[in-house]
Each structure stands twice: as C-alpha cells, then as structure tokens.
C-alpha cells in the first residue's frame, strides 16, 4: 500500500472513531442533566420554566462537545486537507 491509500484509510477510520467515541460522553452527560431536571420538575412544577430554560442552555453547552466531533469528522471526510494535498499532487502528474 502506498502512502495515499494510508491517508484515505486513516482519515475515514479516524472520522468514524471520532464521531463514535466522541458522542459517548455528551450522551451520558445529557442523559444525566435531563434526568435531574425531570426529577426537579416533578418535585416543583412551579419552577418548570426556569428549570427548562437552564436545562436548554446546559444541554446546548454539552451538545457542543459532540458538535466539535461532528465538525472534525465532516472536515476529515469532505474537506480533508491531507487528501486535498494528495489530489493536487496527483493532478500535477506522476513523478512530481
């Protein structure tokens, strides 16, 4: 296998691993935040407004960790700088 194959293979595998492993943590965190917010709302229904607003903000902040992983995965698949380098090398012709 030449180095170009390695670059393509590792990029796709890295994108998959990044998305898969990177979404475990935010999923656990969001589940825990939602669980606590639901039990708090069940105990104090009057405070449902402020609790759900704070929950939304917190969920957005936890979610952004998964979004970072998604952005990196998408960059690795669709706008990979290393792969673009390979393409320009190949377009210039062999032996360059």
């Amino acid at each position: 296998m030449d180095s170009y194959t390695w670059i393509g293979m590792i990029s796709i595998a890295a994108a998959a691993i990044c998305m898969g492993v990177g979404s475990i943590g935010p999923a656990l965190g969001e589940a825990r935040a939602l669980q606590q917010a639901l039990s708090a709302m069940a105990q104090q229904p009057d405070e449902a407004g402020p609790i759900s607003r704070t929950l939304f903000i917190g969920l957005a902040m936890i979610e952004s960790i998964a979004i970072y992983c998604l952005v990196i995965s998408i960059i690795l698949i669709f706008a990979n700088p290393f792969w673009n380098h390979v393409i320009t090398k190949t377009a210039a012709g062999p032996g360059v």
Binding site: A60, M61, E63, I67, Y68, V71, F78
Partner: protein, 228 residues
C-alpha cells in the same frame, strides 16, 4: 460537496470576491429592515392596532421577557437591541433554510465567528459601562492575580464555542439533508428539514440567551463582588 457557502463565489471584481455568504446576509438584512419598516409605518399607541404592529410587539415583548428572566429583575431595555438583533438575524436566516436554493449565512464559520466576536466585544462594553474600567478589570484579578490568564482563556474558549456550535448545527443540518437526498430521496429529507427548522430556532434562542447570560454575568459580578 460544499461545507460552507464561502466557497460559492458569485462575482469576482478585482480583489473583491462576492460570495454567497455576503449576498444571503444582505438578503436577511433587507428582509428584516423591510419588515420593520412595514410594521412601524402606521404605528399607534391608542386606537386599533394593525396586525403587523401586534406581531412586532409580541416579538419584542417576548424577547424582553426572556432578558428579564436572565437578569432577574426589571429593565433589560438597554440589552434588548443587541440581543434581539442577534436572535432575529439568526432565526430568520435559519428559518429560510426551507426555501430551495437558500444557503443560510449562519452555516458559514465566518458569519458565526463575526457574531460571536460581537458578543465577546459587547460583554466588556456593557460591563465597563455599568461599573467603569477599574471595576470591570477588578474581576480579572480576583481572587488572585494568577487567575487572570484563566479568566482570559475562559472568555476566549466560550467565544469559540459560541461560533462553532451555531456553525456546526446549521452546517450539519443542511449536510444531512444533502446526504439523505442521495440515499432516500422520496420522503425522509422533508422530515429532516422539519427537524432542521426546530434546531435552527433552538440554536437562535440559545445563541441569544447565552449572549445575555454572559453580559448579565459581567454586570452582576460588579454588584456582588464576593460572589463568583
């Protein structure tokens, strides 16, 4: 596949490149200004209100209510123009994503970075206006002077997070729709578009409310210096 409308250059004019992000930002600005002008053309305090005035008053009152819930008191009028503009701009540009051929300007990292930069500048602006330069800078050196780099780092990282969150959500929404069009082009992309509408509005709300939370934190810590 394009991941940002920045690469979609519509017009080249010497050094100046007119890309899709700028054009669609202008369209959003035009829509907002025209809507505001139409709504405030025949504005009345007493007497029957028009439908436009009613709608606009509902929007402004709603945004002000949210700001008051964050600051925890009355007022909030001084932050209403900034936060309301952020919300309306992001909400309109995300909602128009259902229009065919529309490239949401919030799906470009340049736009979201500029918006997050506005928030990062307005936080010290409102803080300094509330308590003066000395009172605002005092926060950075509390409890000790060694905490100053960490305060600066947290302000920088939350600005980056603000930009990347909005960009990632909107860009991934349109990208998922584009991928589904290849896999299952009949009905599924419509459902994802509906989900994208919901996500776009939630992201607009979150962006505006986070900007307000940051501003409120910069203002509130002058009032109670022993807290935070």
């Amino acid at each position: 596949m394009e991941i940002t409308p920045d690469h979609l250059v519509l017009l080249r004019w010497g050094f100046f490149h007119l890309n899709a992000t700028i054009v669609y930002t202008w369209v959003v600005m035009l829509l907002l200004v025209a809507g505001g002008w139409l709504a405030t053309r025949r504005i009345t305090v007493d007497g029957p209100r028009g439908a436009w005035q009613n709608a606009l008053e509902a929007i402004v009152t709603g945004i002000r209510g949210q700001i008051r819930e964050v600051t925890g008191g009355e007022g909030g009028d001084e932050h209403l123009p900034f936060v309301g503009t952020l919300f309306l701009f992001i909400a309109v540009s995300n909602t128009l994503d259902v229009v065919p051929g529309w490239h949401a300007p919030t799906g470009s990292l340049s736009t979201t970075a500029a918006l997050a930069g506005c928030v990062a500048i307005s936080v010290p602006f409102f803080g300094i206006r509330k308590s003066g330069l000395k009172g605002y800078l005092h926060h950075y050196f509390s409890p000790t002077i060694f905490m100053a780099p960490f305060h600066l780092m947290s302000e920088f990282s939350r600005t980056v997070a603000l930009a990347v969150r909005l960009f990632g959500n909107i860009m991934s929404g349109s990208m998922v729709v584009a991928l589904l069009l290849v896999i299952a082009p009949l009905f599924i992309p419509v459902l994802m578009q509906v989900l994208g509408l919901l996500i776009g509005l939630i992201q607009a709300y979150i962006f505006a409310i986070l900007a307000m939370v940051y501003i409120a934190a910069a203002i509130r810590r002058q009032e109670e210096p022993q807290e935070t």
